[in-house]
Amino acid sequence: MLKTSRGRRRMADVLTYAVLLTMTFFCLAPIVWMFLTSLKTEADIVTSQMQYLPARITFENYRAIWTQSNFPVLITNSLVVTTITVVICVLTGTLAAYAFSRLSFKGREKLMLGYLLVRMFPAVMVIIPLFVMMRTVGLVDSRFGLALAYTSFLLPLFVWMLKGFFDAAPKELESAARIDGSTRLGAMVRIILPLARNGLVASSVFIAIAAWNEFIFALMLTTGQGSRTWPVGLQLMVGEFQLPWGVLAAGGILSILPVVILFAIVQRAMVQGLTAGAVKG
């Protein structure tokens, strides 16, 4: 009995590694190629003889993107916009997600659908009226205005995702706390939030990434250097009569770096959240 179960376990481990390695290859290979491309000279990229490894490693592409695109300013803008967006979403969205998950009230389903509806109207048509509004209140070309625009479609995403995680947290613990005399607020803060902490982090990561990568709104709502974000600056690299592959690839690598770093930090928090939840469970 024990033997077969151990054998099965080993089988499962092998299978797990096979799956993980295949998927990692699928995900990583294009990015590795992009990295190699970013180190190549244009002559090694646009060539009839496929050049797998750069014949001569060059950092010219990175230098070009740094000087041409005003990189530090763009990255700062992106960081500020992303941070404001996440903060607004977490502050307001967590409350709403909790209400949708744990409280029953009249029109709950309809209201939830209503939150979703907000996201459904195609950006193409929202942009112009949004621009008019932002102009009247003086928020065009401002990072805060852009963050507000992002909130309009990321907040519903956040609420819906987080509600799913709240739903998954067992109700019994909360009931037990309530029987012990805890208020709803107390139960929410002390029981549910810690349990759903990994979900909270995951949802925040998603909206952070979405805000970081957003293009259309950023393009239409900002013009000056003071508020322009990184993806818009990157699109500017794609010139009319030149598409410098190496520079574009360097831009791609630079644009995932901050996200990877953020994620590496957050992942630790996620693991801690999981263990905390497991202990209580």
């Binding site: 590694y17 993980l20 995900c27 909130t151 607020l185």
Partner: protein
């Protein structure tokens, strides 16, 4: 513990949380925010769809009622785009859910090295659409594409293939690119959902003699249901609404082989400056999404009961 919480304003808030106003208090901030930002633009979108608004022909502007909707019925490109949108979204979502699920289950087994695998598998999602599009355009390029080179070297292809130039492969190629870019979304969400399932449930099931497959069917899937529902709906919405990837890869071509509604609306508005018709297209997309979401939510709830 309790005494710590019962102090000052917190205590008042705690008391308030016992009243029936509590739910409104929780919903108020997000609701106000959404209404402020979204109400006017959405109304504007609806109004525009029953008006003529062609920037380059200001003389024609004015109320036209259902004209645009009637015109849509006989618009060949609209029907092609509708069909393509359905195919594109369904195929991409199916692929992404399947891959996301497999990845999440594998990651959830916590074999050594999982943390590293976790970050690596999520990398594609971190790339902006624009970059992902250009990058795959280079990978699949009919002249410079490394994928073509490899396929020729292992003799699957006899010569470089122009994936985006052939209507038979253009759609499939864009779906693969989208799946690559989007499946980590599901992987991360499913993983977080799996972590939320208490170990005890599996232990109890194992004691009851349920094998891994039965455990999966009876515990994993039902426990993940709300996460899956939410993830699928959200992804469907963003896929239907965002044209950027196709804009970079094919621009809707060849012919109209990869034309989808979002791209069509975008081109109608910003290439032909026909905002009225683009608005009507947007409203139709909105209605389709709404019907889908309502049905889908109802369906998943029914099967749960």
């Amino acid at each position: 513990m309790k005494s710590v919480l019962h102090r000052g304003p917190l205590a008042k808030l705690g008391d308030l949380s016992e009243t029936r106003y509590w739910v409104y208090l929780l919903l108020f901030p997000s609701l106000i925010l959404l209404l402020l930002v979204v109400a006017y633009p959405t109304l504007y979108g609806f109004v525009i769809s029953v008006r003529e608004m062609r920037l380059t022909r200001p003389g024609l502007n004015g109320w036209v009622g259902t004209k645009h909707y009637v015109a849509m019925l006989s618009d060949r490109v609209f029907w092609i785009s509708l069909k393509n949108t359905a195919i594109w979204v369904t195929a991409a979502i199916a692929l992404e859910v399947a891959m996301g699920f497999v990845a999440a289950v594998a990651l959830n087994r916590n074999v050594p090295g999982t943390k590293l695998f976790g970050v690596l598998i999520l990398l594609p999602y971190f790339l902006p659409n624009v970059v992902a599009g250009h990058m795959w355009a280079l990978l699949l390029d009919p002249r410079l594409g490394v994928i073509n080179d490899i396929l020729v070297k292992v003799r699957i292809l006899s010569s470089y293939k122009a994936w985006f130039a052939d209507p038979a492969t253009a759609m499939a190629a864009t779906i693969v690119v989208e799946a690559w870019h989007g499946f980590p979304f599901f992987a991360l969400l499913f993983l977080a959902g799996l972590k939320g399932i208490p170990e005890d449930l599996y232990k109890a099931a194992a004691v009851d003699g349920a094998g891994p497959i039965r455990q999966f069917r009876l515990i994993t899937v039902p426990m993940l249901r709300t996460v899956i529902t939410a993830a699928v709906i959200l992804r469907v919405i963003s896929l239907v609404n965002s044209p950027d990837l196709l804009l970079v890869l094919t621009g809707g071509g060849p012919g109209n082989a990869t034309q989808v509604l979002s791209l069509y609306a975008f081109q109608t508005a910003y290439r032909e400056f026909n905002f009225g018709y683009a608005g009507a297209l947007a409203v139709v997309m909105f209605v389709i999404l709404m019907v889908f979401a309502t049905l889908y939510i109802r369906l998943t709830r029914v099967s749960k009961d």
